[in-house]
């Protein structure tokens, strides 16, 4: 609740080249990555609800996006790399990249499908004024957040990693046989 409030109350304070630090998404990514699928999904769903409530035109879009972000981040890297905190940064980069690219693709194609003339950002603007600044600012806020979740999070440090064996077994159900 604190992160969501911070993001939408003072967006101009933590922004870089017009992009606001996405506390909510970074929090969901790191929760999913560090604490597993269930935690990631629940936090993703809750953060998505807050995101929709605070700044979306339609209730549900943010919930859907962040729910899948939470689940996806819990599955990526976590088994082979045992949720090493440093790889959380790679998660943030990858998921922010996917989120931004998909967002731009949707915003480009949906109006085309619905008809009417349509202007859109140039590729260089998308890369240098949207995607890269967003990745940079998200990376910047992910450092304190990783420390916060690792040392002041809901689980004692290492507790989740000890349970990795159990978690791997439990994640078997996600596999399509």
């Amino acid at each position: 609740m604190f992160f969501s409030t911070l993001q939408v109350t003072f967006p101009q304070v933590l922004s870089f080249r017009g992009q606001t630090a996405d506390f909510m998404m970074v929090f969901v990514i790191l929760t999913g990555y560090l604490f597993g699928t269930i935690d990631g999904a629940v936090i993703g769903f809750s953060m998505g609800f807050l995101r929709d409530m605070l700044s979306s035109t339609t209730l549900g879009i943010g919930m859907l996006i962040l729910l899948y972000v939470g689940i996806f981040s819990s599955l990526l890297f976590s088994r082979k790399f045992h949720s090493r905190a440093t790889l959380g940064f790679v998660q943030v980069i990858l998921i922010t990249l996917v989120y931004k690219v998909m967002g731009h693709v949707l915003y480009y194609f949906v109006p085309l499908l619905t008809g009417g003339d349509h202007m859109y950002l140039s590729t260089s603007t998308i890369i240098f004024n949207s995607i890269l600044p967003q990745i940079a600012i998200n990376l910047a806020v992910s450092l304190p957040m990783i420390l916060l979740l690792t040392y002041l999070g809901p689980y004692r440090r290492g507790e989740k990693r000890i349970a990795d064996g159990d978690r791997a077994a439990s994640e078997e159900v996600w596999r399509i046989r």
């Binding site: 609800f49 209730l59 950002l121």
Partner: protein, 299 residues
């Protein structure tokens, strides 16, 4: 059934379908889904105001330290100005009395006199470039609610410049679709006698630079850089005559797709308070404008 409920993929599909249902229902105007946010809003709004207040206090504290010397100098200058202004106020009061007499004599109506103006504070701003709706602290409890009959309300700043429109409301807060948002559209007219009616709307490409697109320009009409646009009142959603902004560029290169770009007067990033225009019992859009208020860029 128990096996199904233990399957995470099944639960995920179920949750996804549930969210999709929420999205679909939320798109229906006046849908009860809007009320889902009310309980959270009741808890979150005071917490959010607390964070906002704390942030403002911290910012004010540092400003006070850094600006202390400048304030002292400014204070002495202001004292001189106060003396001059007091004289002007006296003259203004006299002029006001005369205006009231003339108004009564000639039945002149004030701008937007058929509207109640509700002041409100901005609670939250955009989360990112796609989640960019503003939330304000007035809602159904203040008599502002969206229904089949009342589709929306105009939102203006302290200078009466158009900020956006109310998109949805819950008990204590409302969402405002800002003028730069790609989902925002308003019918506008050039602020001259019989000025051309055009459409102003948000555009992703222009939003970053704080601009809007102006299109559906009638044939034989050629907009000029510097033309001032106000709401036309067509459609009944916005009262006529609210200042929108000024044309900053015109593109007539394609006969079929002539457009212009507009710089809104409102500076959304600098806004703290906004005003919601709620029609009185008279039908919306019935405001008589004599004369059209002067468009003033927000400071």
């Amino acid at each position: 059934m128990r096996k199904l409920l233990a399957n995470k993929i099944f639960i995920l599909i179920l949750v996804t379908l549930l969210i999709v249902a929420v999205i679909i229902f939320d798109l229906i105007p006046g849908s009860p889904v809007e009320n889902i946010t009310t309980p959270v809003s009741v808890i979150l709004d005071p917490a959010q105001k607390l964070v906002q207040g704390a942030g403002s206090n911290i910012s004010n504290f540092f400003s006070a330290i850094s600006e202390g010397i400048a304030i002292r100098k400014e204070n002495s200058d202001l004292k001189k100005q106060v003396a001059e202004l007091q004289y002007e106020v006296q003259q203004g009061e006299e002029a006001s009395l005369r205006w009231q007499e003339l108004k009564d004599a000639f039945f002149i109506k004030d701008s937007f006199e058929n509207y109640d103006i509700h002041g409100s504070t901005i609670l939250t701003r955009e989360a990112d470039e796609w989640f960019s709706v503003i939330r304000i602290d007035v809602g159904k409890s203040n008599g502002i609610s969206i229904s089949d009959t009342t589709k929306s309300y105009a939102v203006v700043d302290a200078q009466m410049n158009l900020v956006g429109r109310i998109q949805s409301t819950d008990v204590a807060s409302s969402k405002v679709l800002p003028i730069l948002h790609e989902g925002f559209t308003v019918s506008a007219k050039v602020n001259t006698v019989n000025g051309a009616v055009v459409i102003v709307h948000g555009e992703v490409e222009l939003k970053e630079n704080g601009l809007c697109k102006v299109d559906q320009i009638p044939d034989q009409v050629f907009l000029q850089v510097g033309d001032k646009l106000v709401t036309s009142g067509d459609g009944g959603l916005y009262p006529a005559g609210i200042p929108i902004g000024e044309i900053v560029s015109v593109d007539n290169s394609s006969e079929l797709n002539r457009y212009a770009t507009l710089k809104p007067y409102v500076n959304i990033a600098g806004l703290k308070d906004v005003f919601v225009m709620v029609p009185k019992d008279q039908p919306a859009g019935a405001a008589t404008l004599t004369p059209t208020p002067t468009a003033t860029p927000a400071s």
